[in-house]
Amino acid sequence: MAELIVYGIVLGSIISLGAIGLSLVYGILRFANFAHGDFLTAGAYVALFMVTGVLSWIGIPDNTFGSLSFGWRMVIAFPISMVVVGCVAIALDRILYRKLRQKGSGAVMLAMSSLGAAFIIRMIILIIWGADSLFYRPGLMRPALEVPLGIKIRPDQILILFVVLFLVVLLHLFLKKTKMGKAMRATADNMELALISGINTERIIIWTWGIGGALAAAGGILYGIDVQLHPYMGWNFLIPLFAATILGTIGNIYGALIGGLTIGIAQQVSTAFLLPTYKLAVAFIIMILILLIRPKGIFGKE
């Protein structure tokens, strides 16, 4: 059981990265971005393209660090993929969502458009890479370490936790200490007043998409390292992402972090009683329970 909880924390930290971005976008633009799951997929595949394509072509050595499953190529690919997906998110906003906003289309039209965008991203991935599962390093043995309480954990998974922690701290500092970060929180709080205060909200929206997309990309790569890459991986994250976001109160990034961890742990622990394929349903049931008991989430005011 302790082991399942630890695996749940690993999965939950990945969900958190996605949920934070989803919550940021939801908080500022007030619509459900159904393409967010596919940002995770895009991130994982862009990194794959870098690792197996561009970086090997340039001649970056294909080493691994100690008992980790990756080396320099991934270190380089990781931030590049975050930037690329951040730009994809911004581009979608400029091409699609901003046009709809300017026309005064409602939140549902925006959500619908994001669903279309989700499929466009996924279809492009399917056209390029096909429908099979892929690995960053096929065929690599990945031995687990034995840590106290009889928990087996792979070095990759420990690193995943540190990477997530690092990114969350970085985001926290950005939001609390920088002018742009504060303006972002102000815009999420009260967009009209932000405008009155002279904050350029369109620029804030661009930053929000960029950060949301980049964090999702990071989540996708980490999942790819931990498990595998699959064109539907992000779609399968969508329900857990929304469950985490709603549980942690929409717009609250610390709530999204806690929500993500909770959902991740619940999903992994459920595998002790249920088939692992039901993980998605577990996230869904939790979400329905939250909607029934406390629809505004743990940090929401009644």
Binding site: A111, W235, L238, T277, Y278, L291
Partner: protein, 322 residues
């Protein structure tokens, strides 16, 4: 292809488009007239199809029971399958509506999406329920003995069109009644309808359930057409989004538009299939993805440049409110 083959092909195309038109009509009740954002149509599609399969097939016996498991098999006629599918979908919609209809539109969307995914998982994993991933086969077809099996599709096309028209007429009737006027008022501006939150909830619930029942009938029609169903059919793409594209293209809030959209988009979909046949061999395996990519781009273009669709909304009813 000879003439007979082409006609047979067109008939099969017309049947599928007609089945999709039924889904579009169901979605139009929910979205077009009430503004309910259901993105789990595939869930009702799936439940409707499985419901009729269990109702109209016999429970396997003897050797056969080793290969096909199903929770029950009632061996009842087609019409009971349709009714059962509608009723079960209505009940499921009611249960989803309870936690979500009082909240914003997005919540209903996420919940319906979750239901669709969850039911697909359940039918895939629970072999005792409906034979797991292999699904159920041998569904009976109405009026089967009337003609040569090779020409049966003509009969089924008539069945589909009759049911589609009946649903169309009943929705038109409902929408033009005081009930329909209230629905639109609910959609346009909930406050101006001058009702309590409880009333609004009740009307939304009725619309959600009504729409889901129509979708259940659509699922049943599909199941009896293909005679075999398995969980992998009811994917978000085939089961939900293509229907949204159809309704958006035809014109939400317009029942004629819903039917027109189904036929036009299904025509484009099939046409795109012929086009992808010319792709180089290496890309052929991925042709369906290219088609879906094109359909999704079509959706985005409609949303931005022609959100009212081909026909736009019929204004007759809303005039009565103003």
């Amino acid at each position: 292809m000879e003439i007979g083959g082409i006609i047979a092909y067109l008939v099969s195309l017309a049947i599928m488009a007609g089945i999709y038109a039924v889904f579009c009509l169901g979605l139009n009740i929910q979205w077009g007239y009430t503004g309910l954002f259901n993105i789990g149509i595939a869930g009702f599609f799936c439940i409707g199809a499985y419901a009729t399969a269990l109702i109209t097939t016999p429970k396997p016996t003897g050797m056969y029971a080793h290969y096909v498991q199903q929770i029950f098999g009632l061996n009842l006629p087609f019409i009971f399958g349709l009714l059962g599918a509608a009723i079960i979908c209505g009940v499921i919609a009611f249960l989803i509506g309870i936690p979500t209809l009082k909240l914003g539109e997005d919540y209903l969307a996420i919940a319906t999406l979750g239901i669709a995914e969850t039911f697909r998982l359940i039918f895939n994993n629970e072999h005792w329920l409906a034979n797991g991933p292999r699904g159920l086969m041998g569904l009976p077809q109405p009026l089967q003995g009337l003609v040569d099996p090779r020409h049966y599709n003509y009969i089924y096309l008539i069945v589909v069109v009759i049911i589609m028209v009946l649903i169309y007429l009943s929705i038109e009737r409902a929408i033009r009644s005081p009930w329909g006027r209230v629905l639109r008022a609910v959609r346009e501006d909930e406050v101006s309808a001058g009702m309590s939150g409880k009333d609004i909830f009740r009307f939304k619930m009725q619309s959600l359930v009504f729409g889901a029942m129509v979708m259940g009938i659509g699922g049943a029609l599909y199941a009896h057409y293909t005679k075999a169903i398995s969980p992998d059919v009811f994917t978000p793409l085939y089961g939900t989004f293509i229907i949204w594209v159809m309704l958006m293209a035809g014109g939400s809030g317009n029942n004629k538009g819903a039917i027109l959209g189904a036929y036009v988009v299904w025509g484009i979909w099939i046409g795109a299939k012929f086009m992808t046949d010319f792709l180089p061999y290496t890309l052929k395996a991925r042709a369906p993805y290219i088609r879906f990519l094109l359909v999704m781009i079509l959706l985005e273009i409609i949303l931005i440049y022609r959100p009212q669709g081909l026909l736009g909304e019929e204004k007759k009813v809303s005039k009565l409110i103003e």
